[in-house]
């Protein structure tokens, strides 16, 4: 009897939730598929059809609920905000790109009606440069990190799976790059090539490779001893198939989590490089602006403050999201 009263409850819930909302359906489809990519939820078998439906709904929601902590939502909204800003920069900004890169009167002028956040050394509008700056950060960070991700994963999987001398060679090279101070390596790379955006991307892409390969190598080494890999061997699968079809999907999760963190990290490093003057000076970039304002800290604090806040917010967004994602996906915390 107790049993019946309990099973009535989910029915009510499912009915109330089943409103025909297209956007919601699309969203739930995405969440559903992300879930299968990332977490095997703990659904139990041998239920009636109704119970099963309920289970499916609730485990879908389980992932969302994990993700739904205040901090994570904050992170997602920040990312959304920054991306919108970058995509629609011309609509948000009062001034055009050319204007913001030009030279105007009004050196270090304080905030005024035309320039709500003040002006820079060359009289450029700080607000406009803040908005356009999001473009530079995202366009450098994303390709760079994809570059390191792809190559890092390939090297890491190969090293972890084969062991022996391929591992020794790959990992020794990775160790060298890891031990090399990253910031100086980036500075040297950028100085060797030109200070142009594509080279900065490439430099960062190369520097990121060892982190991912180390990360994935560890999980591949663990996974390659597991019976399902042995089973794949028994089923006659080739090494490449085992590496990239059997093992990789099971090892990619920590990389995905780290990926969200690292977007933030790269934006931060980029700003640092620009601050030291190793960046394209023509670029509208927050780090450049801070570097410019460095000498005028006491008389024009607005010059340094606003771009810094933008960096802080952007990086924080990615890190909050990464943190939330990690908590939602962490297998150790899954059953709590």
């Amino acid at each position: 009897m107790e049993h019946e009263s309990l099973t009535q409850e989910p029915e009510k819930k499912t009915k109330s939730k089943e409103s025909d909302n297209v956007i919601k359906n699309i969203f739930s489809w995405i969440i559903n598929n992300i879930k299968f990519l990332l977490i095997p939820a703990s659904r139990l078998d041998d239920l009636t059809f109704r119970e099963r439906e309920y289970e499916m709904k609730i485990s879908k929601r389980k992932f969302i609920r994990r993700l739904k902590s205040t901090l994570t939502i904050l992170g997602i909204s920040i990312i959304f905000f920054i991306v919108t800003l970058a995509v629609f920069a011309p609509w948000f900004s009062q001034y055009s790109f050319e204007h913001l890169a030009g030279i105007h009167t009004g050196m270090w002028d304080p905030p005024s009606p035309e320039h709500p956040l003040g002006q820079t050394n060359l009289g450029r509008d700080i607000l406009g440069r803040m908005i356009y700056g999001s473009r530079a950060s995202l366009t450098i960070a994303l390709p760079a990190i994809f570059f390191s991700l792809v190559f890092g994963v390939i090297f890491g999987v190969i090293a972890g799976f084969y062991g022996g001398w391929p591992e020794s060679i790959i990992m020794r090279i990775m160790d060298i790059f890891l031990a090399f101070p990253g910031l100086i390596l980036a500075m040297v790379f950028i100085y060797i090539w030109e200070q142009r955006i594509e080279y900065i991307m490439l430099a960062y892409g190369i520097i990121g490779i060892p982190y991912y390969s180390r990360l994935i190598r560890g999980s591949v080494i663990q996974a390659r001893e597991l019976p399902y890999v042995q089973a794949a061997k028994v089923a006659g699968a080739s090494n490449w198939r085992i590496m990239f079809k059997h093992i990789l999907p099971n090892c990619i999760q920590p990389v995905i989590i780290s990926f969200t963190f690292d977007i933030g990290g790269i934006i931060l490093s980029l700003a640092g490089l620009s601050f030291l003057g190793f960046s394209d000076p023509q670029l509208i970039e927050w780090g450049n602006d801070i570097a410019e304002a460095r000498g005028h800290l006491y008389d024009a604090p607005w010059g340094a403050m606003w771009p810094g806040i933008m960096i802080l917010i952007t990086v924080l967004g990615f890190m909050l999201f990464g943190d939330g994602l990690r908590d939602a996906l962490d297998p150790r915390l899954r059953n709590l």
Binding site: R172, A179, Y191, I192, A271, F275, R294, Y298, I311
Partner: protein, 338 residues
């Protein structure tokens, strides 16, 4: 005995890495555009002077020969002269002077962030998903999301301009002298020469930079401590401890903390690399005149010798800190056999 053997083995394992870094820097630095001889000679020079300096710096030899000579010099301590800074100052002196300062900040920052981070992480884990936890994690994340150099500037603006209680620039009061150079470490030298006020002055100047810098590793330490603590608290032996009748604080302090420290130590060691990068930025903000400024001048003037020496020192420090972390790891975890 086995410990010494272990250290020796680890050290030998490090040699290829160090060698690789040295090689990489050497060839990368040769790829840099620019001419060190021109940097040395300045604006006015004759071909004879040029050729003479080229020969003197050893740049007229084939690159492989230069490399071999360079390796030899590296191990005999003849690190050459700087072509860009002070025109011909020995690199060894230069590096010692600047590097020790960076080293001081980095070590102080890592100690502070470890202590604070571990404490916060444990509190966070034991109050999982409670407001305390959220606040601590949020704070740590903000700390890591702030660009260090910008944070430094804001701190300078607030604490040395609006409310002038801390010095904003430099590592010492201009009116204060230096202790006699013995070890190049300012703190040690001051103690050796008995000038305690120098230490106070020095540390007083380092408060803001170290504060900034320790935030870089803090979030990582907090996160790692929290998650490994949560994991350890789920373990069977913690259940055993509870079944024995241990108090909750004893469960955490005696049974769980040491186990939770094991992965944290590794994270601290690894994040030291970030910290050294951050130190370059921080000292630029605070005009500490450390290794950061040196590197930038070296790169801009293609000063091979300085660049190579700095990279070598930083790598060596990084590698040694990691070796230390490994040793601590072994001390904590008896399952690691030396």
């Amino acid at each position: 005995m086995s410990l010494i053997k272990y250290i020796a083995r680890r050290f030998i394992a490090l040699l290829p890495v160090l060698f690789g870094v040295v090689t990489l820097t050497f060839f990368l630095s040769r790829l840099m555009p620019g001419d060190p001889v021109l940097a040395f000679l300045g604006d006015r020079w004759t071909t004879e002077q040029y050729n003479y300096q080229l020969h003197r710096l050893g740049l007229d030899k084939p690159i492989i020969e230069q490399y071999v000579i360079y390796l030899g010099d590296l191990f005999t301590g003849q690190w050459g002269i700087s072509v860009s800074i002070n025109r011909g100052q020995p690199v060894w002196d230069l590096v010692l002077e600047r590097f020790t300062r960076t080293f001081d900040i980095a070590i102080l920052a890592i100690i502070i962030s470890s202590i604070v981070g571990i404490k916060t992480g444990i509190i966070s884990a034991t109050n999982r998903n409670k407001p305390k936890d959220t606040i601590f994690r949020g704070m740590a994340l903000i700390g890591v999301a702030i660009p260090v150099f910008w944070m430094g500037m804001i701190l300078r603006y607030i604490f040395s301009y609006l409310i002038p209680i801390f010095p904003g620039l430099n590592y010492k009061n201009p009116g204060i002298g230096d202790p006699p150079i013995i070890t190049h470490f300012r703190v040690i030298d001051s103690i050796l020469s008995g000038q305690i006020y120098l230490i106070i002055d020095y540390l007083y100047h380092l408060i803001l930079p170290v504060f900034c810098l320790s935030f870089i590793t803090l979030a990582g330490v907090v996160r790692q401590t929290r998650s490994s603590m949560l994991e350890v608290l789920e373990q069977d032996y913690v259940r055993t401890a509870r079944a024995k009748g241990c108090k909750e604080e004893d469960v955490i302090n005696i049974h769980a903390r040491k186990n939770a420290m094991i992965p944290t130590v590794t994270v601290i060691g690894m994040s030291f690399g970030y910290l050294l990068g951050g130190a370059i930025l921080t000292e630029t903000t605070f005009n500490l005149n450390g290794v950061g400024a040196l590197v930038m001048i070296a790169i801009r003037n293609t000063d091979y010798w300085v660049l190579n020496a700095v990279v070598f020192c930083i790598t060596l420090t990084f590698v040694m800190v990691n070796l230390g972390a490994d040793l601590i790891y072994g001390l904590i975890d008896p399952r690691i056999r030396y």
